[in-house]
């Protein structure tokens, strides 16, 4: 069970909302409502063929900032300045203001009084908002009518705006002219009154119109409810974002330069000559300067920080920031995947004021130049598209406004029919009626589909910036902005990775548009055009997913959270995954399996050697890496969690542990390794053989484990009793039922790699049985901690007993079947395992920090030509070699005592083989040292034994 957050409001059921969430929407809506009450005028209906016109709609301002072609730049908290385009090549400088919601206006003085006003942040919201509405319309009119603009700069913000008054007055006058002729037009109709037939027709017509009107009205009400329900509620199902562990830097940490650089790159940091911006780093020899990005950790948000790290001998020597030496600094964790709803849409929500104004301007000039003028539909745009399409003889241009595109993506299907088009038009009008332009724009920016990464749909510019360029939206260059805007037209068609030429052509076209509308200068355009179309690798660690680990994390999360909440509430999940260890095991596995296959029989891709691995922290039971198969990115059968395979000699430590626990055995005691036959109750006969097919007579117990002798182990197990051994398995953490067959002594039973890891975890952690876990903490999308998962477990063994067993496992590595690890710093502890006919190769081992369990085999269970030593151990070795090895520390529970060849304890100082013992064995009765003559006699006898 997780630790609950201390805040009373913390619930398992997350309460998160989208980034453009409730608060902002509420604010906008409030503004919108106020505005509509105060300044929105009713549409003026004009009879007989005149178009229905309405006064400019009042729109409440959102907090965002944007640059429209030839018009507004609304305020935001950012101090960024953007140049707004105008139609005559003049540039209006737009700056964002601190608290202002309203924007000023640029352009010639208009009829509308507010349009002349300079609004600033301290203005009363309603007035400021009204000023903004007016200013915006002013700007809109200006751009559409191609009038000569003039520049006007406000104190904090300036926007090119159009004067709505002029446009509306033109409309009014044009609308009124036909109205003046109405009386004349009505006269012929009155001539027919009085005839019954005409009256009936008229009545029918009126009735029909009435019915249609009612039906149409009802339909509109229905659409309206749909639009408002979707926009007022949570707009998107936000998948939980899952992160690896943050890299905690502190003096003394074992950290190679390769690891530091890799982890930075995986977290989308760029190596530069001089690090000045967040997300960049420099390295000069052992000195590193990292400009860390801000990040909302589960225990609080941390801001941007310049970090100076000095590495010496693979460890952090000093850690500093601006204020001097620091004890601990975290680097932001790497994104490792999401828990998606069935549609697999992913997005990183951004607020409008986080979007570069240049991007907004580029989007508008490219997709919908009259966005700030229309009510959701642009007849001008439709007419232009119609002409273009008729000329081309096919569909080459769309006439949809941004609002229509949003409606289509948000509410409707891709069906191309008149009905859907009509529905889209109506809904666009309704959307514009209820919501201000900023909210529509912000929603569009977060909604639009911009690419695909495997199962994951990339939606919104926030995620697209990370996906394609490995940086947040605010860090994009102009050329990158243009590339992203180009994707709106066709994310697949203009994919910069798959279709670089096409994408570049589109990008340059958009850069041209941006320059034409003075969003950028011509010099900037030329610079941007010369930029290469470089995108970050889609397979880089920062964007790839870790399916095997995610599967386990999801299963753990579902113990405390509903799947629906995980898929929709935008939770942040902080896990225990160590990307460096994960990368190390992936690389080691692929490298070694390829080597094995080169040397062995040919295998096709459907039937190649497979692998599974589980790596945990020795003292915390945290799963640090999980490999579910050879293809680490494959969302399929997860062998680490689900493949039950015979564990072979990995079972032996349980047998020896049962022996040591009796306190009647020790590592120097002799075991009989002669052939053994066990007859079952059903008459079946079990006759295990050693791997080399030989018998070895009396061997020391340590020797039997180190050489993995089957006959000696089987004899020992049968002497102890199967139940005693099964009891050890359960005590070590195996939960499944284990049938009491003699063959279990040699690992005939099948376990998953994760179960084996659980078993060895208890050994590695000195007898502390910990449920292996992947989750550290869960927060809402806003960073409020919902639950945290600290260490928990139970001390199920006397640490001295486990230390004693560990001494035997250290012998396996230093002298036994795992001596392939002897090139690493020792001591290490481990055990090899090979099942019957070499169908499974295993290795489980640990150093002072990590436990690793590796399995290699075929999915169809056919024999291989490899053992645990040759198949699995090298993967463990290569993994630990790259990730860093810390040898085991001596146990304070053990002492070392001499034992003679007969397995008898000798007094201290005797010349004999020394074995580890728990301290209390010192008190046991021991033999005196053997004299030289006795030893010589024994040696001669042993030579004779050997000879004859």
């Amino acid at each position: 069970m997780p630790e609950k957050s201390d805040k009373p409001s913390s619930k398992k059921r997350a309460q998160s909302r989208s980034a453009s969430g409730t608060t902002k929407r509420a604010a906008n809506k409030a503004g919108s409502r106020t505005q509509s009450a105060s300044s929105r005028t009713k549409p003026t209906t004009v009879k007989r063929g005149t178009q229905v016109k309405s006064q400019p709609k009042a729109r409440a301002s959102a907090s965002g900032q944007f640059t429209a072609p030839g018009k507004s730049v609304a305020s935001g908290k950012s101090a960024a300045a953007a140049k707004t385009p105008n139609t005559k090549g003049k540039t209006a400088t737009a700056k964002t203001s601190g608290q202002a919601k309203a924007s000023g206006q640029a352009g010639t003085a208009r009829k509308s009084a507010p349009s002349k006003k300079t609004a600033n942040g301290s203005a009363a919201p309603k007035k400021a908002s009204a000023a903004k509405q007016s200013a915006k319309k002013n700007a809109a009119t200006q751009a559409s009518s191609k009038q000569t603009p003039s520049k006007q700069t406000s104190t904090k913000q300036t926007a090119a705006k159009k004067a709505p008054a002029k446009k509306s007055s033109e409309k009014k006058s044009s609308a009124k002219k036909p109205a003046a002729k109405k009386p004349a037009a009505k006269k012929p109709a009155t001539k027919n009154t009085g005839t019954g037939r005409s009256g009936r027709w008229l009545a029918s017509l009126v009735s029909l119109t009435l019915v249609l009107g009612i039906l149409g009205g009802a339909y509109l009400v229905y659409l309206d409810s749909q639009v408002r329900a979707a926009f007022d509620g949570k707009k998107w199902a936000l998948p939980a974002k899952v992160y690896a562990r943050p890299l905690a830097l502190y003096p003394g940490l074992l950290l190679s330069p390769e690891q530091l650089e890799s982890e930075l790159v995986w977290a989308d940091y760029r190596k530069v000559n001089q690090a000045t911006r967040p997300g960049t780093f420099t390295r000069e020899g052992d000195e590193w300067i990292i400009i860390r990005r801000g990040f909302p950790y589960w225990d609080g948000a941390e801001g941007v920080r310049e970090i100076r790290v000095r590495l010496q001998h693979q460890r952090i020597e000093t850690l500093m920031d601006d204020s001097g030496q620091q004890p601990l600094i975290r680097l932001e964790p790497q994104y490792i995947g999401g828990i998606f709803p069935s549609h697999n849409e992913d997005r990183e929500l951004v607020k409008l004021d986080q979007v570069p104004p240049v991007l907004v301007a580029a989007l508008i000039v490219t997709e919908d130049q009259h966005f700030f003028d229309h009510w959701g539909l642009s007849f001008q745009g439709i007419a232009r598209a119609l002409v273009a399409n008729v000329k081309a003889g096919r569909t080459v241009q769309g006439g949809s406004t941004l609002t229509q595109q949003l409606v289509k993506n948000f509410f409707l299907s891709n069906e191309r029919s008149l009905t859907r088009k009509a529905q889209e038009a109506l809904m666009s009008l309704l959307l514009e009626l209820h919501y201000d332009k900023e909210e529509i724009l912000e929603t569009y920016i977060n909604e639009v589909y911009l690419g695909q990464s495997g199962r994951r749909g990339i939606h919104g510019f926030g995620l697209a910036a990370r996906f394609y360029f490995g940086k947040p939206l605010a860090e994009l260059k102009t050329s990158e902005i243009a590339t992203l805007v180009g994707l709106v037209k066709g994310a697949s068609f203009y994919n910069p990775r798959r279709q670089p030429e096409r994408a570049k052509e589109r990008r340059d076209l958009i850069l041209g548009l941006m320059a034409k509308h003075n969003i950028i200068s011509d010099a900037e355009r030329l610079r941007a055009v010369s930029d290469a179309l470089i995108t970050a690798s889609p397979r880089r660690a920062g964007q790839r997913e870790f399916p095997a680990f995610l599967e386990r994390a999801k299963a753990e999360l579902q113990q405390d959270y509903r799947l629906q909440d995980l898929q929709t509430e935008g939770l942040r999940v902080f896990t225990t995954l160590d990307p460096w260890l994960q990368s190390s095991v992936e690389r080691a596995a692929e490298g070694h399996l390829s080597r094995l296959e080169r040397g062995g029989p040919s295998s096709d891709s459907n039937n190649s050697l497979e692998v599974a691995a589980v790596l945990t922290s020795v003292d915390g039971g945290e799963i640090r890496a999980l490999l579910g198969g050879r293809d680490a990115t494959y969302f399929g059968f997860n062998r680490a969690l689900n493949a039950q395979r015979a564990i072979g000699s990995l079972a032996k430590p349980a047998v020896f542990l049962a022996a040591l626990r009796t306190d009647n055995y020790h590592w120097g005691m002799l075991l009989d390794d002669s052939p053994v036959t066990v007859t079952g109750q059903d008459g079946s006969v079990w006759m295990p053989k050693n791997y080399d097919g030989k018998s070895h007579g009396n061997v020391a117990m340590a020797d039997a484990l180190e050489r993995s002798l089957n006959q000696a182990t089987a004899r020992l197990g049968m002497t102890l009793g199967l139940e005693a051994v099964i009891d050890e398995f359960h005590r070590l953490g195996v939960e499944r039922a284990i049938p009491a067959y003699p063959s279990l002594l040699l690992g005939a039973m099948s376990l998953t790699p994760l179960e084996v890891a659980q078993l060895y975890q208890t050994i590695a952690s000195e007898g502390f049985l910990m449920p292996l876990r992947t989750i550290d903490a869960v927060t809402t999308g806003q960073g409020e901690m919902l639950s945290s998962y600290a260490i928990r477990g139970q001390q199920v063994y006397d640490p001295a007993l486990i230390a004693w067993l560990r001494a035997g496992l250290e012998g396996v590595v230093s002298r036994g079947t795992a001596k392939g690890l002897a090139s690493l710093p020792l001591p290490l502890a481990g055990k090899t395992g090979t099942s019957d006919d070499q169908r499974d190769a295993w290795f489980a081992g640990f150093d002072n920090r990590h436990l690793g369990v590796i399995w290699v085999g075929y999915d169809d269970n056919r024999p291989m030509n490899v053992t645990g030593s040759s198949g699995a151990l090298p993967i463990w070795r290569d993994t630990f070699k790259r990730s860093g090895v810390e040898p085991l520390t001596p146990s304070r529970y053990l002492t070392y005592l001499p034992v003679n060849d007969q397995g008898e304890l000798l007094e201290d100082g005797c010349s004999a083989t020394v074995y580890a013992f728990p301290s209390h064995w010192q008190m046991r009765e021991r033999r005196a040292c053997e004299r030289g003559a006795d030893r010589l006699r024994k040696e001669i006898r042993s030579w004779l034994d050997w000879l004859f």
Binding site: D6, Y250, D299, P327, D619, F768, S788, G793, Q795
Partner: protein, 124 residues
Amino acid sequence: MVRLAVLILSMAGLAGCATAPGSPEVTTNYGEYRDGSEHPAVLMLFQQADEAMQAGKPAMALTYLDQARRIEPRNPYVLYRQARAYAVADDNEKARQLLERARVFASPDDEMINYLLYELEFQL
């Protein structure tokens, strides 16, 4: 006779050093206890955990302490503090488990940790 006298005196001395279980003096102020590590990062996390505890946020304290545990996984003082945080959060079962774990790493020569563990065990 002399040996008996020395023994009695020693016993009396030891008894004087000990504190009677359950007496009010046993309770140490967790917030004031800052020893138990020489690692600056661990000390910083101890401080953060102390602040969280004083603010009545044992769950938050546990996350700081678990970060400290990763730096010094076998430091009995870290485990003791975690046990203590569990106890404050009314999770005595986990507190006992970590207490037991702390004992695995507590040196018999370290009187302070043994005292703290004894004290906490008594309070659970």
